[in-house]
Amino acid sequence: MVALSRGGAAGVAAGAAVLGGLLLFATAAPTSLVDAPAYEIDESLAGEVTSGTTPALSPFYDVADWQPGPPGTLVRAEPIDGAPDGMRLFRILYQSTDLQGNAIPVTGLYAVPAGDPPPGGFPLVGFGHGTTGIGQACGMSQAPLDDDTPSRSNFVPHIEPLVEQGWAVVASDYSGMGAPGPASYLVGPLEGRGILDTMRAVQSPAPEIGSVAIDTSKMGVYGKSQGGEAVLSAMELAPTYAPDLDIAGGVSLAPGFTPALQGVLDAVASNPTSTSQNMFVLLIARSYAENYPQYTNLDEILSDVGKEKMAILDQYCGGDLADRVVDVPLSELLNTPVASGLVTALGEAMPGSTPLKMPAIIVQGLEDTTILPQFTHAQVMSRCALGDTVFYVRYPFDDHPSLNYQARLNQPSVIDWMEARWADEPAPDNCANQLLGTTNLAAGVGR
């Protein structure tokens, strides 16, 4: 080698560089982009996933007689009449904790297959629902069987098909959305506690529910949009908050994140148009002001116009709420620059910096204009850098609604992925950086 002329040595080095490039191309890790056509939503189903009606609040959510108790304790339950064939539905009230560690009552929906459980019991999935508001009438347990309600819009594409798989599904309403409590929109640690405590709560026998055998070795979490972020928060929290739960993995569909970046938030807040973002920012403002008073408050975050909208958040849900807050440009709702305390709080609440102790599958449609794929990708990169076991799937032609079906019905199917975790198969991982030896150190590998 050293006998080469200078030109020869340069040629060898350049040749090695070009050959190296070819090898890099040939050996690259598989893409996360799935070769699948867009999922066409059945028009007859589309009507069932709207959420233009705010349901009335039933007496079940009156907690005048509630007493604080250990988190994850079931307080009471009631059956919901008219459940579809093959399943039973219950409203549940259970104990959870707020971010200050105080006991709070939270409600949820428990859906179980009607037949006999398989040997060992039903698998149990904690479900995180997408954006429906923050009002007491906006939770999953309110009216899952009534058309055009927020809970129906999550029940049809998610909860019902999961129960049809033979899984027991428990969906937290999240704090404040049923029983009174602090608003929880995108407050990851609060949503996460709600999800984990529902999974604990339904493992206790209750006279209203009867004996439902749960296979505690087959548990998982599953969420979409706001719920996608909530289940990732729950997965981060689980080892410390609920170490008693043996969660095998989590499914996160188009998770909703708000990165703690002042410049990005200022750009959003300067939007001179009225969009669905109006509802999102109002929900965030209210939730963060209530949970992080040490950092911020509504006066800092919202303009007078924005503060006038606060009462509406308590009264309406889903599309019914969104329609009532799009009458002004987004830029008129928020103070700009965005309150630095809100950025501080978002920095604490958003998941992405704590390693997961279980594998995750994160799915994103690239035509999604509600959840920007770039933020999902940033979350996945962070997960890969943390050494998490993450299987990232991108559907090139799907948007926010169609992903609900695509992720279940196409391959790789999130249902199959979850079943494989319960079968103790090695979890797939397409983080290219983990092909080095650190793969063996990744926390979730092997489960």
Binding site: R6, L261, G347
Partner: protein, 410 residues
């Protein structure tokens, strides 16, 4: 990230590798002092890559930036200390110094492979091999000249991350928040900072590439550190403005910009080309410690060392493990004045590495810092008990490296 850009990414990385080759073979003239000074900057920035990776896990704030600057002085201080001390020659000392070069090379290969694969999904194992082969070829033929030339180009290319960082900071950030953070951090780990400082100081005493670069180039430590400080301050301050006063990684906000690397066609390729040159420079810089000049006697060490470094990088026990292990090896020659002392230090380093690994303390911990100090002291104490017949000066054995063309194998 809405599209696949693997072909673009691979072209970018390949162009980066070809730029490294071009930098080395652009001219046959001896490198100027400016080139060697800029090359030395990359040898010091190697330590910044290690330190920044530690500091950002808890949150790199303005205070962290100041600490980082202090840390970056330590390898140079260590090098100057070694230059003023009669150096030990002999096989044990050569093994210890080679271990340091191998460890630093492995650390940079890991950093390069993790970063580039995370951004582009290329296989990091292939990247380790390719980067080792290409930089190894360049260093084999040109020695420190090659690392100096690549480092010089890389230093100019640092203008790209500097401009990106400042643009993000000034357009989407806040200068006041850079100094008064709005992002809450976990607080710096004192153990990690102390361990890094101890490790950097002893690594400086045994970093043969840095020492050879100084001996050949005769660069001013003040000038090199001034340049390094300028680069680090500009990049980190821009990021501090953008991130609200604390750079936390991994985090979703940290990756928001990399996740948009496909925003413009060609952007990913350009950024990956720049990063590839930067990593080629630090890898070549570390490798040059195994063969500072083009004398044939060092070729076996270079080939063997590069192979071991690549092997360690492929196993990737973690950057912290690799750097602490390297610092333990460096400690064996840091204070030793005899071959016996170095040998004792090396044995001590091996024992300490095993104990720290078994106990889970082979990371930025108090125990690791203590172990590094203990190994250095053991080397010193055993030196006192032995003869001084193996003491020589300067620090690196073999012929005195010069810029004379006779070292060019032609």
């Amino acid at each position: 990230m809405n599209r696949e850009f693997l072909p673009e990414a691979v072209v970018g990385i390949t162009v980066g590798l070809l730029l490294a080759v071009l930098a080395v073979y652009r001219t046959s003239k001896a490198p100027s002092s400016g080139i060697l000074t800029r090359g030395a900057m990359m040898s010091v920035l190697l330590y910044a890559i290690v330190a920044a990776g530690v500091l950002v896990t808890e949150g790199l704030t303005f205070i962290g930036l100041l600490l980082l600057l202090v840390m970056l002085c330590l390898p140079v201080v260590g090098m100057m200390f070694a230059e003023r001390t009669p150096a030990v020659t002999g096989q044990a000392a050569r093994v210890a110094r080679a271990a340091v070069s191998i460890g630093l090379t492995a650390a940079m290969l890991i950093a390069a492979a993790q970063t580039l694969s995370l951004l582009s999904r290329v296989d990091p194992r292939t990247l380790v091999v390719v980067l080792t082969v290409v930089t190894g070829l360049l260093v084999a033929v040109e020695g420190t000249r090659s690392s100096g030339r690549i480092g010089s180009w890389a230093t100019w290319l640092l203008i790209v991350p500097i401009l990106i960082s400042l643009a993000l900071g000034f357009l989407l950030g806040n200068a006041g928040q850079a100094i008064s953070p709005i992002i809450v951090t976990g607080g710096l780990s004192v153990a990690a900072v102390v361990c890094l400082m101890v490790a950097f100081l002893v690594l400086g005493t045994a970093d043969a590439a840095l020492a050879a670069s100084h001996r050949i180039g005769g660069w001013s430590p003040v000038r090199v550190l001034g340049g390094v400080f300028g680069v680090v301050i500009l990049i980190v301050f821009g990021l501090l403005m953008f991130f609200g006063g604390a750079v936390i990684a991994p985090s979703i906000q940290f990756f928001v910009v990399p996740a948009n690397i496909d925003a413009l066609p060609g952007l990913a390729g350009v950024l990956l080309a720049v990063l590839t040159v930067l990593f080629a420079a630090v890898v070549a810089g570390a490798l040059a410690g195994l063969r500072p000049t083009a004398d044939a006697a060092g070729l076996g060490w270079l080939i063997g060392g590069a192979a071991i470094a690549a092997g360690v990088a492929l196993l990737d026990p973690g950057l912290d493990w690799v750097v602490v292990a390297t610092a333990l090896a460096a400690a064996s020659v840091a204070l030793a004045t005899t071959a016996r002392g170095v040998l004792g230090g090396l044995i001590g380093a091996g024992v300490m590495a095993v104990v720290l690994t078994v106990t889970g303390a082979m990371t930025w911990s108090w125990w690791a810092a203590l172990a590094i100090v203990v190994v250095a002291v053991v080397g010193r104490l055993l030196s006192g008990a032995g003869s001084s017949s193996s003491v020589d000066s300067p620090a690196v054995s073999g012929p005195e490296p010069t810029l004379d063309a006779s070292h060019n194998p032609g």
